[in-house]
Symmetry: C2
């Protein structure tokens, strides 16, 4: 990038936060959103970086997320469930509010759950997973999305791309983290094929009649397919049940009904499970954190990668050398700061 | 089946239990094993039926499971973790011992975990899942296996076929249940292709050099592949971490080292998570059990099936009409009863 501007991670975060403040988000919403967007850029995960700012602003402009919401932690009830009501705001500050209590409960009881209700989920799940692993806990995180995926054997959109994410804490390394859609591909990948005029790989999608298609337009009018056939479909359904219905929040078809569009960030709930390896392994032979390293070494030793390896390498690089932003990206940030909600269309 | 003998479910269970008692299993081990084997026949799930008796006896004869073990429940410690030490016996009676305490804890805390240690896992995970759903709880159950699956991008066996199972309670129907291997295929399916002299479908396995193969012999000498590429591989790894390492029990490579064979039932631990939908949904709009029915209707309404549907249909049939066993199967049961451990070879 010959025209690159190098920003520190903190400097980028300040710029993104200023954009959200200018667009009317309160401090807690703007700070949390700027944090995850900056984390995406830091990790060279461009699809979760500043590219997402306009989607967030569009959702605010459409009136589908409350920019001034203050998340609220439910009073402790002695159970293993920690609840945060996002009050219609973004999930990210609600998660941040619940995290310390989740960690305390998981260390005390061995496992605990954080339920975030009435939130607009924004961006990936790995920021949540990593925050839990930083507390010395393993994590499973999931949430519904909007109905764009047909169940295996079905013909119409019903499930969401329902991400499933997991993390395991490591002592001297970045955590073991994965975070993936339970559809074969993300909806954005189909959109990218459409723009490029390229056919889709086989097995990604069906058309509106339920027939396999490699046409991006037909796929967008039809449905995406779950990863791994009936197995991925079952996991996607489990996510609707646990992270939608069980926590008393919306399922993917209900989200789509409520929003009327897949161009806005989805509103629903999120389920975060935290496990204390120390508590689970108590009284048993071996240190679980050390034993896990043996497994990771065996995976790496046969030439396979650990998930998120590339992200962590980019992160180390960004910490040492800053983040390179193109002049086009800098101009985009300047424009968003200058125009606020006028920068995006919604009607 | 023209030569079929019709047995009631209870009559078959008595016969199987007698075989295990004759082979030296104590009452608690024999009863639990007979229960799951009879459940397999009842559900027309032949691969988990009486076919499995010899494998259990072979594992006893090899000295890799204690036929006289009495599982022991750890004293309650107020946490969300319930622990049962199987003391080297089968997992099934240990699970049965822990289940009521797991249910009590999950109803009290919202979620809880049952850890079974030092057990030989036997047969499928759906019996455990169904037993948890019968308590009005949702369940996730997982355990390692032996190292027969290469991680995505790898070349050698490391992960197990690591089953992942889930259940959701329903009021007026059999529960929603899935239970699948995180490999593309079960090892037994490759063995069946070998015996039939048929090539494997593409994508099931790699040879001992890490190259894709459709030769069953080469696959058995090489490694199976995870379902869904890197996503299934990640879930298989999660199961090693949570249901092996975290609970202080063996990973799949350690199991294979310990047993030296994939012909014996695997010894390790098992992790059962139980969730109370009632507790999670408390204070939120809607009844989760009723809302789930809307989701199931939408799946069925587009011609897709719910997992386990065929099993439940066979079960209803067996309850009404008994279980048809061929004369060959009856002869096999008679022989096993007469010969006890002499019926199987192990050295």
């Amino acid at each position: 990038m010959t025209d690159a501007t190098i920003l520190t991670i903190d400097a980028l975060k300040e710029r993104v936060e200023a954009i959200f403040r200018r667009a009317g988000l309160n401090a807690v919403q703007a700070g949390a959103l700027a944090g995850v967007i900056t984390a995406g850029e830091r990790d060279a995960c461009k699809s979760h970086g500043i590219f997402r700012i306009e989607g967030a602003l569009r959702t605010v402009k459409a009136g589908k997320v409350r920019p001034d919401a203050t998340p609220e932690l439910a009073p402790p009830d002695g159970s293993a469930i920690v609840r945060v009501d996002a009050h219609g705001g973004f999930a990210n500050p609600a998660f941040a509010l619940g995290l310390p209590v989740l960690a305390e409960r998981a260390h005390a009881l061995g496992l605990a759950a954080l339920v975030v209700n009435d939130c607009t989920h924004f961006s990936a799940l790995w920021p949540e997973v990593e925050a839990v692993t930083a507390e010395g806990l393993a994590a499973i995180v999931m949430c519904p999305s909007y109905a764009t995926v047909a169940p295996a054997g079905g013909t119409r959109p019903l499930l969401g791309t329902n991400p499933f994410a997991f993390g395991w804490p490591r002592r001297d390394s970045d955590p073991y983290v994965f975070d993936f859609a339970t559809s074969v591909a993300a909806r954005g990948e189909i959109e990218l094929h459409r723009r490029a005029g390229k056919p889709l790989p086989e097995g990604w999608a069906i058309d509106s009649e339920g027939r396999p298609t490699t046409e991006p337009e037909a796929a967008l009018a039809g449905a995406m397919l779950p990863f791994g056939g009936h197995k991925g479909s079952a996991i996607g359904t489990m996510i609707e049940l646990l992270a939608g219905i069980m926590i008393g929040d919306l399922t993917s078809p209900e989200v789509l009904d409520r929003l009327g569009s897949t161009l806005l960030a989805p509103m629903h709930g999120e389920l975060i499970l935290a496990f204390s390896p120390e508590a689970f392994a108590k009284g048993r032979p071996g240190d679980p954190i050390a034993r896990a390293e043996t497994l990771f070494e065996a995976i790496l030793g046969q030439g396979a990668r650990l998930p998120s390896q590339r992200r962590f390498a980019a992160r180390a690089n960004a910490r040492a050398q800053g983040i390179a932003m193109s002049s086009q990206e800098i101009a985009q940030l300047d424009r968003l700061l200058a125009e606020g909600l006028d920068a995006v269309a919604w009607d």
